[in-house]
């Protein structure tokens, strides 16, 4: 089999990137530095600007201002704009973008057309990729004869065929069912790392982001709110938006702040003024502001009302999920906690004790997100 040189992973640097569509800002002053070989996931809701960001890096969109460098070469700046074909990138599109008039084999071979390699080498490269993504038997079929998962494999193989240092993924799993999504997610992670390329992957699914990423960038309303390791984004979210978007079981207004140190704070809630909850807080914390307590589902433990400490609650709903039970519990005054896992089943309308793990509770300025 022909040997293909492993591409040098690319570094990406984005400085003060802005993009407007008809006067509306899709990206506002985004700064981002990606080390070579890193798998970066940009996470955000619809309209947060993540697709625009990816398209700007690919060269499909021209930024309004700011600079983008790939491998320290400016590909987009005030006086420079390299078209997509000159950026040395590959991309997996959300709708796969497979050319319907080309067979699977020809779709995958497309990026190799401009390479210096011989025909035999190209053919072997395509055969190798077909085998690697497990679709050798589909090589002569056309895209409309494939299932969604198979089409996505072709798109992945095409991106890998390009042998480039930067691969972009535009929500590649969003059109697939849950089973295939999980399977392909693992393949994307394995194959991209195996290829040695830097990857920028966008998604709105936080579990997908945490599972894939070396680093996660959280976008909101065109701004990069936090860029950090998945662990830090989850454990030390920067503001209410990041906390919420990475999954909370419940959020409550804080009634009183009792004590604090550099990292933790003790608060009480309006519906349980005599109970204190210890929670992490970020550096922007200001007791004079309107504060909220956010609780991760993994930071809540249920127990029988007769046992241990904790707040009293009532089970509203319980659902079996295979490994155990997920509960919805009301704490009074309309405050509820969702997705609370327990291996024991607590029946609807039964009373329980709820206790919180301080490292998975956060107290933050409720208006910080708007600011």
């Amino acid at each position: 089999m022909a040997t293909f040189t492993r591409p040098e992973p690319a570094s990406v640097s984005v400085e003060a990137l802005c993009k407007e569509f008809q006067g509306k800002a899709a990206l506002a002053d985004v700064h981002l530095a990606i080390e070579p070989g890193t798998f970066v996931v940009l996470l955000g809701p619809s309209g947060s600007g993540k697709t625009t960001m990816l398209r700007c890096v690919a060269g499909i969109e021209r930024p309004t201002s700011g600079t983008i460098e790939i491998n320290r070469e400016c590909v987009s700046g005030p006086k420079t704009f390299h078209p997509p074909e000159r950026r040395g990138v590959a991309m997996v599109f959300q709708d796969y973008a497979l050319w319907p008039h080309l067979s699977v084999r020809k779709n995958i071979a497309f990026p190799l057309a401009n390479s210096q390699r011989s025909k035999v080498e190209r053919r072997e490269r395509v055969a190798g990729l077909l085998e690697r993504v497990g679709i050798t038997h589909l090589a002569d079929r056309y895209p409309n004869e494939l299932s969604g998962g198979e089409q996505q494999r072709v798109a992945l193989a095409r991106a890998l065929a390009a042998d480039v240092g930067l691969i972009l993924f535009d929500e590649p799993l969003s059109n697939l069912d849950a089973d295939r999504r999980e399977q392909l997610r693992i393949e994307i992670a394995t194959l991209t790392r195996e290829a040695g390329a830097t990857a920028i992957y966008i998604t709105h699914d936080q579990s997908e982001a945490f599972a894939l990423a070396d680093k996660v960038g959280v976008l909101n309303r065109g701004s990069l709110v936090q860029f950090d390791t998945p662990e830090n984004v989850y454990r030390r979210p920067r503001n209410c938006f990041v906390t919420r978007f990475t999954g909370v079981s419940g959020e409550f207004n804080v009634a009183t702040v009792h004590a604090r140190d550099s990292e933790y704070v003790e608060v009480s809630l309006p519906f349980a003024p005599n109970q204190r909850v210890r929670a992490r807080t970020n550096n922007c914390f200001d007791p004079a502001k309107e504060l909220k307590l956010f609780v991760r589902a993994t930071g809540v433990t249920l127990s029988a009302p007769s046992r241990g400490d904790g707040m009293g609650g009532e089970v509203l709903d319980v659902a079996f999920n295979g490994r155990g039970y997920e509960h919805v519990v009301t704490l009074g005054d309309g405050a509820t906690l969702t997705k609370i896992f327990s291996t024991r089943r607590y029946e609807r309308e039964s009373n329980v004790k709820v206790s919180f793990e301080s490292s998975e509770c956060f107290v933050m300025d409720a208006r910080e997100e708007e600011v």
């Binding site: 078209p83 990138v89 709708d95 050319w99 319907p100 080309l102 390009a162």
Partner: protein, 564 residues
């Protein structure tokens, strides 16, 4: 692009129309502002022509839509026999010019015509045919394919789930119909508007059947106004303005209807293939026979009339005593020395024109269609859309007369371009008349091509040209080929602009044939018509054969299709 389009369409037509109220502006009369010519045009013979055109176009629009709805429903939604064949016949009908249809019927029905030679006594129909009945019949036949394709597309988007949802939620048959009908209503309105516009702007029937039946139609009176001596351009301009004004409302209605249709198409983007109603054997035979009869009357009869007529000795000669079949006319055509002028040079010229006009129109139409698709919903698309709609509303005859008027002006010939009475002017006129329709024909298929396909090509290393060549071109290839063939065929048989703009001693085939027919050399003219048609369809078959041979299999699997 806009400069080209302005010189091609907007400026010549606008200058011509201004004449109606300000003849002095172009030295066509003493008045700077007058309504005299409007009064002149709206009385007597010209008024009769306008009124005839209006009621004939309205009647034809209704008849063709009724007929096309039944036809489209049977073809799209039932298991009628030979479904694809009926769609192909609609394409053939679309390619047939109205003057050939009229000629075919005339050859068949006239005394000592094809029917007489075949031993059929159709003399009872002759008197009826040479009047409004015949005109409406021929024009309905030619409007039928326009209505058919629009309605068929509407029915295709009407997935079974709409009917199922209505029935499941308790609606009876009538209630279901009431619920579902608004979904296809835009297509019906669109078909009505296009049929009306095509009919009122037709010149082929007006110049042949209308003239012989002493039934004036507006397009004929318009040409008469400039053909008579002295030429009356201001009156012609008034008639042109009336024709355009009459066409604008239905075309605008069509535009609104199609926009609504698009909205429905988005809603039903995932609709399953329509369920076909399984007709019983008897019903299936009856429906197939019924559709066959309509197609036979619309397409078969005129073809039979022309083909048989071209073999009848002394065709249409009331003084002839001996009617029999002969090859005389074909011998005459193939030996040009036997007649004044053969078909060879005119047919060659028509083919050359067809080649150039179809290619230039194709290029312009692709550029315009891509621009429209690229600026979806933007002001650029809206302006292009309005401009193209407006241009479709301009009958070919108005464009032709506008051209001879505009390009004969001193400031144009002396300072801009001197192409009056030359072949390039005829070419420009033919391109200008073909571009709007062709662009709208291509706009749908072009806009369906997802932008991510070319973006994927660019991201994976293809430059702008390679990206277009390897991704967009294959997906558009079928619509490009059919668009090219449609323009080629229409150019070869085009009559209105050709008759007005052909340079001296350089007659296209349609003009030569008409001069034979009007000079009572009907047999020769008919044989020329048949040969022209044969040649035209021969080119189409060869072109499709070449397309099949030279394109990769993948190209023919995707994109727009003729018989979807």
């Amino acid at each position: 692009m806009w400069v080209v389009l302005s010189l091609l369409i907007i400026v010549p037509v606008m200058c011509f129309l201004i004449l109606a109220v300000s003849p002095r502006l172009f030295s066509q009369g003493p008045q700077w502002l007058t309504f005299t010519y409007i009064r002149q045009a709206l009385e007597g013979y010209t008024l009769k022509g306008i009124l005839n055109s209006l009621w004939v176009a309205s009647l034809v629009a209704v008849l063709s839509v009724v007929c096309a709805t039944a036809l489209a429903w049977l073809v799209q939604r039932t298991n009628i026999g030979a479904r694809r064949f009926w769609t192909v016949t609609m394409w053939l009908l679309l390619l047939m010019p109205t003057w050939i249809m009229a000629q075919g019927w005339t050859d068949l029905l006239q005394p000592y015509g094809a029917a007489h030679a075949l031993g059929l006594n159709l003399s009872w129909l002759y008197g009826e045919f040479f009047g409004p009945f015949g005109i409406v019949l021929v024009l309905t036949s030619t409007a039928l394919p326009f209505a058919f394709f629009i309605i068929a597309a509407g029915l295709q988007g009407l997935g079974p789930e709409f009917e199922d949802a209505a029935r499941i939620h308790g609606a009876g048959r009538v209630q279901t119909m009431k619920t579902v009908l608004p979904i296809v209503a835009p297509a019906l309105l669109g078909a009505l508007a296009i049929s009306f516009a095509e009919t009122i702007s037709d010149f082929g029937v007006a110049d042949t059947l209308g003239y012989h039946a002493h039934f004036p139609l507006a397009t004929y009176t318009l040409v008469s106004a400039i053909s008579n001596f002295p030429a009356n351009f201001p009156v012609a301009a008034v008639i042109a303005a009336v024709l355009i004004l009459a066409t604008v409302p239905p075309i605008a209605l069509q535009s609104v209807a199609m926009r609504k249709n698009k909205a429905y198409a988005v809603l039903s983007g995932r609709t399953r293939a329509p369920r076909r109603r399984q007709l019983s054997t008897g019903s299936r035979i009856a429906a197939t026979a019924g559709v066959g009869f309509v197609v036979f009357v619309a397409l078969g009869v005129p073809i039979i009339g022309a083909v048989v007529g071209s073999f009848v000795q002394n065709l249409g000669d009331a003084g002839a005593t001996n009617v029999h079949f002969t090859l005389t006319y074909y011998k005459q055509i193939l030996h040009p020395s036997l007649v004044d002028n053969g078909l060879g040079s005119p047919l060659l010229l028509s083919n050359q024109l067809g080649l150039i006009v179809a290619t230039a129109t194709g290029v312009l139409a692709v550029i315009l269609a891509r621009r429209m698709a690229a600026s979806r919903g933007g002001w650029s698309q809206r302006i292009t859309d309005i401009f193209l709609l407006g241009s479709i509303a301009i009958p070919g005859v108005v464009l032709g007369v506008g051209y001879i008027f505009f390009y004969d002006q001193g400031f144009i010939t002396n300072h801009v371009v001197d192409i009056y009475k030359t072949l390039p002017l005829l070419m420009l006129g033919l391109i200008a008349s073909a571009v709007p329709g062709q662009t709208r024909f291509m706009a749908g298929p072009v806009s369906q091509i997802q932008s991510s396909l070319s973006e994927a090509a660019r991201v994976h290393g293809a430059g702008r040209w390679r990206s277009w060549r390897t991704t967009n071109l294959p997906l558009m290839s079928r619509v490009l080929v059919w668009g090219w063939l449609l323009t080629f065929a229409k150019t070869i048989s085009e009559l209105a602009i050709s008759e007005i703009l052909y340079p001296p001693s350089q007659e296209p085939a349609s003009v030569t044939i008409q001069s034979y027919l009007t000079n009572f050399q009907i047999g020769t003219g008919t044989a020329m018509t048949v040969l022209t048609m044969l040649e035209m369809f021969g080119v189409i078959v060869v072109a499709l054969g070449i397309y099949r041979l030279v394109t990769p299999a993948g190209w023919r699997r995707v994109g727009w299709s003729v018989v979807d």
